[in-house]
Symmetry: C2
Subunit: 286 residues, 2 copies
């Protein structure tokens, strides 16, 4: 007889999963970290009571945050991940043999340790020698790091509260742009376009200002409870329509979600959003 | 201090909305019918404890069940709707001036009456003189009705339990095919491809057998709690890619969700589903 664990939105909406058992509970310097086992979706990570990822529903999020950028950036040798403590994003990046080096900057060591121990099915690439994990502040990193520029920068942070708050403002995006090659691709998760519509549209607008173009894209992630989730793609030189056919063909062999049709499909936005972005002068032309 | 109303899936997953108040509760000959007012999504209809539709999240379902068929069927003068008691599907059909006559066969008069009284924002076309509402059994109708064939047949029923059960088998689809013009388009809601994957794929397979082709398509509907919802498009002669540009352009002016990009996007399926349909020999070529 398990208990329900509900993520509650503003005391108005809740998405609950029945638990089999709790595997880990900890309070880090930043947040509450929990790993539970659910009846429906296998093991799951929660941060501050919010569903982050789970075995049964991690492919949509991780394939979609990673692959549109990876199949369009002209080169993909050096990749930076901010956040991504469950390891799913690094795993998706490292599917590409062309990748030579990945820097991952996650602020919370407890998330990494809990996921390494309890969710090894999600982070399957921790031992890849191309992966360099740093525990530290991504906001400081993109401001200060003195490194070769990256081909792709991916921001896989949690919501704009707690330690991830700094990942949602213009100065952070300018730091990401500083570390990105001229023709490189930036991507960030950009919240529920339904429940956090204002935050989402504001992020898109700021990213458009920083990079000169911004393409939000949508796909549902069941555990986030709001239908569509969103990510936003940006580049000074490259567009989401500049596909590398060989990379796409390789991914199509063993992706759960991603294929060429999905790639184009996710950039098609609901009519009201499309109209609002046009009014906001967000550049989304090829 | 409202109460939570949860739709529960197999005692494993629940989607709850906080209620402001209950507007209607009734037990018809077929099912329990409720209309409530929620904090987040306005007024909502529930049948047997399952979220059916609500003011704040009805456009994705109703635009998507209707418009892909309406913009591709060569002619759209005569339309049949089975189910659709909330009136949203009829409203979307009747946006097209080319439509001359709509027959709607809903089994439960209580659903129609409750929605007319409490959800008039969804069913805005009840008084359209082109709409002929019949209270009756859709299964018997498609088997027995002696009428001119339809250009478009839309099945907007609830889940394969209770009175809607008969809408999910081959003999019913053969009845729909019997009433459809050779180049006409059939569409049905086809369940959550996530939570009811087997039922969904079985429906697609049977529809493919009956019509010679079947195109499932996906879009999220937040209140159904499973990320993607699905509908399935079928026709003996027409494909989802035969768009009537004028109709699309007219819809794009005032649709909330539907536009040309969404039309193409919804037919792009997750990679694992695409592979399974190919193995099942479902015909989805243009």
């Amino acid at each position: 007889m398990g208990l329900w664990y509900d993520e509650v939105f503003e005391d108005k909406l809740r998405l609950g999963l029945k638990l089999k058992r709790t595997l880990f509970t900890g309070q880090s310097d930043f947040q509450k970290v929990e790993v539970v086992e659910t009846e429906l979706l296998g093991k799951a990570l929660l941060i501050d009571g919010l569903w982050m990822t789970c075995e049964g529903e991690e492919a949509p999020y991780h394939e979609l945050i990673v692959q549109p950028a990876m199949v369009t950036s002209p080169t993909i040798e050096r990749v930076l991940i901010i956040g991504g403590g469950d390891g799913g994003t690094a795993r998706e990046v490292l599917r590409h043999a062309e990748v030579k080096h990945v820097d991952m900057v996650e602020i919370d060591a407890m998330v990494i340790e809990a996921c390494k121990e309890h969710l090894p099915e999600i982070g399957t690439a921790w031992d890849d020698p191309r992966l360099n994990v740093m525990v530290g502040d991504g906001v400081a990193y993109v401001k200060e790091a003195d490194v070769e520029p990256y081909d792709v920068v991916i921001v896989d942070g949690s919501d704009p509260v707690g330690p991830a708050k700094g990942l949602f403002n213009e100065s952070f995006y300018r730091g990401c742009a500083r570390l990105l090659k001229e023709e490189g691709v930036f991507v960030t998760q950009s919240e529920s376009p339904r429940l956090f519509k204002e935050i989402h549209l504001e992020m898109v607008q700021v990213i458009n200002t920083v990079f000169g173009a911004a393409w939000p894209y949508y796909y549902p992630v069941m555990i986030y409870g709001s239908g569509h989730w969103s990510w936003t793609y940006a580049s000074r030189q490259t567009t989401p329509y500049d596909l590398n056919d060989e990379r796409v063909a390789r991914l199509e062999k063993d992706s759960r979600i991603y294929n060429r049709g999905i790639h184009h499909g996710v950039f098609a936005l609901p009519n009201h959003v499309k109209q609002e972005l046009a009014e906001m002068l967000v550049k989304r032309d090829a």
